[in-house]
Symmetry: C2
Subunit: 205 residues, 2 copies
């Protein structure tokens, strides 16, 4: 692309460095900003810069936070003895959006994946183990990807907790509500038959 | 979506105001920026703000410009007596990217569209007419959308130029190179038959 303005070109280049944003989309976004009030664009720019400069990670659960401790950990209404172990901040947002979980989180920062050079030391597993020890955690719920890497991570942490008084569970896998049986993959369908549940329990939800 | 950080939430909201960017995409972009070096994000933010604050519109052709006169108008190698009339800055970028045009531009800022409340006064038509008068323009090439609005705009400007010594043309319409005949719309195919060109002329390109 040939731009007649270096200012425009630089802005397009910056946007096109974002994931999933090509040159044409970047140009569309920049031309949109160009039509906005300069104050609106200044606010856009400031909010982004401020987010990156000031955002912190919760010292307890490694979730994003505006302070040293995140709003979930700081909330005394949440069941602090219940920890949901997730891979990323995105998973915390997904679970919080269900409004069905009253415990706390622990963000691992990924899953064990030797091929990608990610071992237990690259994740926040040591901090999780210390936390369980110190806080007398009652239950650990794993909400990780149903992949070999996710399963390896569960297995590794479970091994480390041998002999400890902590209940270890994972979220239910099965056919999604609204999911059509014929489109479900065989593994999910097979497992959902094995792990069938009493109708009374299903109806209570 | 439930965020545990107001900083994160504000950043996601700002991104999701951009056209074509929903909440989920906005979150993906913000989490990407969160992983980048703070200096990189600061540069992103600064380049966007600077673009909006400092960009100007060329006083002659209304294209975006870093100075009072854009780089196309300021280039003495370009044929200043040849003006390509376009709707938007995006069209200038598209034509410049072909590297086939050696004239200058005039950005109308849209086309006449009474239903959308856009009349000749909302566009830069008066400036174009003054410019043609003053600069003794030899040729005006219209590169507008092939719509009723585009055609109305051509008709309006052409009427205003009655009696003036200026050649008025429009870019060729026809089947795209690499376009399959069977997928072409009837109007384009019909017109491309009417406006057929000598093979010698075609082969010379």
């Amino acid at each position: 692309m040939q731009f007649s303005s270096a200012l425009l070109e630089n802005a397009v280049n910056e946007f096109s460095r974002l994931p999933g944003i090509g040159k044409k989309t970047a140009l569309r976004l920049v031309l949109h900003l160009l039509k906005q009030d300069p104050k609106e664009v200044e606010r856009f720019s400031e909010v982004i810069a401020k987010m990156r400069q000031e955002i912190k990670f919760c010292q307890r659960c490694h979730n994003v936070s505006d302070g040293d401790i995140c709003s979930v950990c700081a909330n005394s209404m949440r069941r602090q003895e219940l920890i949901c172990v997730v891979e990323s901040i995105r998973d915390v947002i997904a679970i919080e959006s269900t409004q069905q979980f009253s415990g706390t989180y622990h963000v691992l920062g990924g899953v064990i994946s030797p091929l990608d050079g990610i071992g237990p030391d690259q994740l926040t597993i040591a901090a999780l183990l210390q936390r369980i020890e110190k806080e007398k955690t009652e239950e650990l719920i794993f909400a990780l990807s149903p992949t070999i890497q996710g399963d390896t991570t569960i297995y590794y942490i479970q091994k480390k907790l041998t002999g400890k008084q902590v209940r270890i569970t994972t979220i239910a896998r099965g056919i999604a509500f609204g999911g059509e049986l014929e489109y479900a993959d065989e593994l999910t369908l097979g497992r959902s038959l094995q792990n069938r549940m009493p109708v009374e329990k299903y109806m209570n939800h």
